[in-house]
Amino acid sequence: MNTEKNILLVEDNPDDEALTLRAFRKNKIANPVVVARDGVEALDYLFGRGQHADREHWELPAVVLLDLKLPKVDGLEVLERLRLDRRTRLLPVVVLTSSREERDLAEAYRLGANSYIRKPVDFNCFLDTVGQLGNYWLKLNEQSYQ
């Protein structure tokens, strides 16, 4: 069980951020959520550098929820860099995005995404989605820590 571990939410839209956090709350997911608002911030957090360089008790999150359309470094590039690094090679990454473009899907899986979820417009559907997502990645899924 990963109920204490962090969740990294990479999301640049404050509305989406607020709604996602709300969905976590509604689904009673208590894990701390760290929000990165662009690709660089996400990478800095994960690799413990930049503003996160002096972070104590450096630990990887239980899961990364990654939007694709991001300022500076976009989601797919973040994913690619994570998979190239030994430390984050096996880190669960769920792509959570508005896009349903086939090329985004294919590219995300090719680069090693663990899951690809499209954010529904209907908030109730979104709630359901986030609930299932948390349940799966935080409770059901067994993770390798190699």
């Binding site: 839209n13 509305d15 989406d16 709604l19 709300r22 694709l68 359309k69 995005t97 508005s98 896009s99 349903r100 473009e101 954010k119 529904p120 417009v121 209907d122 908030f123 109730n124 979104f126």
Partner: protein
């Protein structure tokens, strides 16, 4: 040198050589003959005379009076008398004279006795013989014999010229013959050159002219019945045939030349046309390239637009919906029923817009994606779609009739979208029927225009649902066109537009007929 002159010289040379040889041989022969004949004649005359003298002397001797001068004289006188008028030829002279020192010399018989004395001396000494003596200016042949008992010498001389008369006559005859022969030879030559060489020469000239292409040269004619005549006629005939053939050839050559010129012209026109076509092709290719590049750019732009629509337009909608829900959840208690209803409307509108965006994206994806034509089992497709519909609304009782073995040729993915839309529409618009019935199959109807071949019968989807007013049939396929109110039958008005776009991409036609409350028939042909 021409053949004619060669013949000429040859004939003359031969004639002359033969003539001269014959003459020389003839002269010698005749001369020899004349000599021997005269000699024999003269000898026999002289011997005959001597025999007469001897017999006279014999008579005298037998009578015993051979030494009696009167008897001897008498006998001698008789003989002399007998030969007084003796003639031999024209110039022959008979001489009987006594040897010098004899008493019985008979000088009266010596006529023109002016023979060489030297010659006479020799004659007297030898007794008998034949020789040539000069007599003044002329030469004379002499045959002589002596009769020693009487001391007589008998001598017959003939002018040499007379002996040569025969030879000269022969010579003149030979000359005459030669002349005649020469004339004959000349005539023969003239005949030969005229009859053989000249025609042959004419033939050779004509052949030369023909070989130089001069067909207008007059051909040699001949009426001769010999080989040359035959040859000439054969040659003339051959030349005429050749000339005719040549004229024929020239005519054909002219025709060929005309054809050639025309072909040349056609070829150059063809080449010009080809160049133009090539030029046009180049231009066309250039334009296609440009247009393709433009299309590609437009497509890329459209794709970027679609991407941004799918991503960016949905985000605000999510916010609208999400915060409306948050409002409902957190502050619902403070709102009255109308306020709650308004918020629900906001949520419905945003969800509907999200649906519209998705449908639009689907529509544009259909237009953009690559198309793969292959045989497609439409019956199976229809069955699959029907199964999906039944699973989505298992409570509904709908009779779905699908004709088996309906085959089409097209893109399976796109045709599935067509079937989904048409069957989905039928499913939707029969939702208020008691005995809903949907049919799929192949009709007897043909599309209009170029696609209207017998093999291209249209497929149909028929339902007994709400139907539509036929007056609006042409509006059915427009984007966002709807003939029903959303509260009656939900929808964005994009499904049939999508169907039409797919059918058009296949080069086919789609049309519909129907009646309000009775049902609708949708036809499509690929």
């Amino acid at each position: 040198m021409k053949l004619k002159y060669k013949f000429n010289l040859l004939a003359l040379g031969v004639l002359i050589v033969v003539g001269v040889a014959i003459s020389i041989a003839g002269v010698f022969t005749i001369e020899r003959l004349a000599y021997s004949m005269n000699r024999k004649l003269m000898e026999s005359e002289v011997v005959h005379l001597v025999e007469q003298i001897r017999s006279a002397h014999k008579v005298l001797t037998e009578s015993g009076v051979a030494s009696v001068d009167s008897y001897v004289h008498k006998a001698q006188t008789d003989i002399l008398e007998e030969y007084r008028d003796y003639r031999f030829g024209h110039t022959g002279q008979l001489l009987i004279f006594g040897q010098p020192g004899s008493s019985q010399l008979l000088p009266q018989l010596l006529k023109n006795h002016d023979l060489d004395t030297l010659c006479l001396d020799e004659i007297v000494q030898t007794g008998r013989g034949f020789r040539e003596c000069s007599h003044g200016k002329e030469k004379r042949f002499v045959y002589y014999a002596s009769f020693p008992a009487w001391h007589w010498v008998v001598l017959l001389s003939v002018d040499k010229a007379e002996m040569l008369v025969e030879r000269n006559a022969f010579l003149s005859q030979v000359a005459l013959i030669l002349l005649v022969g020469l004339a004959c030879g000349l005539l023969a030559f003239v005949w030969f050159t005229g009859g053989i060489v000249a025609p042959v020469q004419l033939l050779s000239e004509a052949a030369l002219a023909i070989s130089h292409g001069d067909w207008d040269k007059t051909l040699p004619q001949s009426t001769a019945v010999d080989e040359v005549g035959d040859l000439t006629r054969a040659f003339s005939q051959m030349s005429e045939h050749l000339s005719a053939a040549q004229r024929d050839l020239e005519k054909q050559a002219k025709v060929l030349q005309n054809t050639n010129t025309r072909l040349h012209l056609e070829i150059s026109e063809h080449q010009q046309a080809q160049r133009e076509i090539y030029q046009l092709n180049l231009e066309l290719e250039q334009r296609v390239l440009e247009r393709t590049a433009q299309l590609k750019a437009a497509n890329e732009e459209l794709e970027a637009f679609a991407y941004s629509v799918s991503h960016d337009l949905r985000a605000p909608l999510r916010s609208i919906d999400g915060f409306s829900q948050a409002l409902l959840d957190d502050y619902g208690a403070r709102l009255d029923a109308e306020g709650l209803e308004f918020l629900q409307r906001v949520r419905r509108a945003s969800q509907r817009m999200a649906q519209l965006i998705d449908d639009l994206l689907n529509l544009s994806r259909i237009t953009r994606g690559e198309m793969v034509r292959a045989p497609v089992d439409l019956s199976r497709l229809a069955a699959l779609v029907a199964e999906d519909l039944r699973q989505a609304e298992p409570q509904r009782q709908v009779e779905i009739v699908i004709q088996s073995q309906v085959q089409a040729e097209g893109d399976a993915r796109l045709l599935r979208v067509v079937m989904e839309n048409l069957l989905g529409n039928a499913w939707k618009f029969t939702s208020r029927c008691d005995h809903a019935r949907i049919e799929f199959g192949r009709s007897d109807k043909l599309p209009s225009g170029r696609g209207g071949q017998p093999g291209n019968r249209a497929f149909f989807v028929r339902d007994n649902g709400a139907g539509f007013d036929p007056a609006y049939a042409d509006k059915l396929f427009g984007v966002f066109q709807r003939l029903h109110r959303a509260e009656d039958f939900p929808g964005t008005g994009i499904g049939l537009a999508t169907v039409q776009r797919i059918i058009h991409r296949h080069g086919g036609q789609v049309w519909a007929d129907g009646e309000v409350g009775i049902g609708a028939n949708f036809y499509f042909a690929l």
